[in-house]
């Protein structure tokens, strides 16, 4: 920056500056920052939302360790993330390279088709998928039966339900990342490809030696944001389990951390306990994100 005189707290510039910041800062303070602090404090209390708060120390966290539902929810969330994130990376690479090619006839219009899932409300998308995956009348099972593959109970079989939720998660999330990857690929200077062509590099070689390494910062961003998103998955799971009361086996196979927080907080009114769960979720996300920033040196190339 230039050597500009920084005005004091309440100089002319300061006063006007604070006034312009005030509305957003006040809103963020009251509805985000203070609630975050409250949530951390609440994790050490027992509270049903009505009676007086009761300090219980680490008791909520001790309960967490033995709470089967919470352990299932952690496991499911982890499995879900391990299915969704790698699938998204592979899909955006394949379709990103193809759709970034402006030489293809009508590619602009084609992109719109791939971006459609982004625009669909997650709740609506899950309802549609529930119908597609219907055991008897769903499009998918009917399609598979052409190849003599027996019907699968995608939604009600505990062995398949998480895979179904992951399919929905991939479908709803992939378009956003596809847009980022397409713009990332288009941002790569054509000089690299021209040089590679002179050297006689094949298209495959060009992909692995130019496109992929130069895309790693973009892929890093996608892995970070998608993992955070996966750990907060709620909409699809709650709709999949919704409707009639699901059997316990199905619940155990599907419940995610946020669903567990929601149920403890707003169905069983264990507000303190739910807060301790959300605090643990926050720590997990923080650790995973920090670990990724550490690991990025091994695979992310900044040009």
């Amino acid at each position: 920056m230039k050597n500009k005189k920084i005005s004091t707290f309440f100089g002319k510039e300061g006063t006007q500056g604070w006034l312009m910041i005030l509305p957003n800062a006040l809103g963020l303070l009251i509805f985000y920052l203070i609630p975050i602090v409250c949530s951390v404090v609440l994790a050490f209390y027992k509270w049903d939302g009505l009676s007086k708060l009761k300090y219980v120390g680490f008791a909520n966290f001790q309960t967490l360790l033995t709470d089967q539902t919470f352990i299932y929810s952690l496991r499911n969330t982890l499995y879900y993330s391990l299915m969704v994130v790698p699938a998204i990376i592979i899909l955006v690479l394949i379709f990103g390279v193809a759709l970034a090619n402006d030489g293809i006839f009508g590619v602009e219009k084609l992109r719109t088709l791939y971006f459609l899932p982004l625009m669909t409300m997650p709740v609506a998308a899950t309802l549609v998928w529930k119908w597609l995956l219907n055991r008897d009348y769903g499009l998918l099972n009917n399609f598979l039966s052409i190849f003599n593959i027996p019907s699968v109970s995608w939604i009600s079989d505990p062995n398949f339900v998480l895979i179904s939720v992951a399919m929905i998660g991939i479908w709803t999330a992939v378009a956003y990342d596809l847009i980022i990857v397409i713009s990332g690929i288009k941002g790569i200077s054509p000089v690299y490809y021209e040089a590679a062509k002179i050297d006689g590099a094949t298209k495959t070689r060009q992909f692995f030696s130019i496109t992929l390494p130069l895309l790693t910062p973009t892929l890093f961003f996608i892995v970070i944001t998608q993992l955070i998103g996966c750990f907060q998955v709620f909409d699809s799971v709650s709709i999949i389990l919704g409707g009639d009361a699901p059997p316990a086996a199905l619940k155990n196979a599907t419940t995610t951390v946020v669903l567990s927080i929601y149920q403890n907080g707003f169905s069983y009114f264990k507000m303190g306990y739910a807060s301790s769960q959300s605090f643990v979720l926050f720590l997990i996300i923080l650790i995973i994100t920090a670990a990724q920033f550490k690991l990025q040196k091994k695979w992310v190339h900044y040009a």
């Binding site: 910041i21 409300m121 309802l127 009348y137 499009l139």
Partner: protein, 276 residues
């Protein structure tokens, strides 16, 4: 990228990408097709692709089963409140952080930005009780309020303002314009692309938001579409063509806006990816 495709190869790629594109948008296509079918056609094995007698009966049914028009109006009100508020508040604060110089600004910016790192589930329970204290539980304002403020929007627009030259502000100040006046008259008019990006993000987030409205609304008075159509599947005597009709009506407005503003939208998303 490489633009030297021959014509035939271009067409082959087009056909392959079209087939996959149709596959990707199949849930969407199937939603529309199913919503136009009659109940008797739903249980046909194997299903016919096209409805035998396409009609809007299921749409008429949904509007009766849930107070759809009311939910729809609520969603529009909530979305308008949030979008207008975010555009005003985020652009003002972003401008001050990007272009003005005063003590303590960087510290406050970092503190506000830390909100981005915390999962939203953490704030649900305290916010519910804040709304209770403000007597805003089960009101449209209660649904809208937390989404009126945004650390993400502030950050996005700050990055945008940083890319604009300082000279306008200097010239404006010499001419006796206040800082807010410079922001309003000199910077906002050249910030359309940044503002439209934020507008689309807010619009989409607000329209699709589910968890917070689910918690804060307890009656149709304040219920929005996402919660309304989720309730469809718990109803007695509901059929999938009707659920699909509800899903289609909840989705179509956003699709139409997207197609109209696709260019800005793609630019906006690309911006978040590049700046990280």
């Amino acid at each position: 990228m490489h633009k030297e495709l021959s014509k035939t190869r271009g067409i082959i790629y087009f056909v392959i990408l079209l087939i996959f594109g149709l596959l990707v948008s199949m849930p969407f296509i199937w939603m529309i097709i199913s919503s136009l079918k009659e109940i008797s056609e739903l249980t046909k094995v194997p299903p016919d692709f096209w409805p035998k007698n396409p009609n809007l009966d299921s749409y008429k049914a949904v509007v009766k089963i849930i107070p759809f028009a009311h939910h729809f109006a609520n969603t529009i009100i909530v979305t308008v409140i949030r979008t207008v508020a975010q555009l005003a508040f985020c652009s003002m604060s972003a401008f001050a952080f990007a272009k003005m110089h005063f003590k303590g600004k960087n510290l406050v910016f970092m503190i506000l930005l830390s909100v981005l790192m915390v999962p939203t589930q953490m704030i649900l329970i305290p916010n519910y009780f804040i709304m209770m204290k403000l007597h805003l539980v089960d009101t449209i304002l209660g649904v809208a309020i937390p989404g009126m403020f945004s650390a993400f929007g502030m950050f996005l627009l700050r990055q945008f303002f940083l890319s604009l030259p300082d000279e306008f502000l200097e010239a404006g100040r010499i001419d006796g314009c206040s800082y807010f006046g410079c922001f309003k008259k000199l910077y906002l008019p050249i910030s359309t692309s940044g503002l439209v990006s934020l507008l689309i993000f807010t619009l989409m987030y607000s329209w699709n938001d589910y968890l917070w409205p689910l918690i804060i609304s307890s009656s149709d008075k304040s219920r929005v579409l996402s919660v309304g159509i989720a309730l469809l599947q718990g109803q007695n005597r509901i059929y999938y063509n009707q659920i699909m009709a509800g899903a289609a009506m909840a989705t179509l407005p956003v699709i139409l806006i997207f197609i109209a503003l696709q260019k800005y939208f793609v630019e906006g998303i690309a911006l978040t990816g590049v700046k990280g």
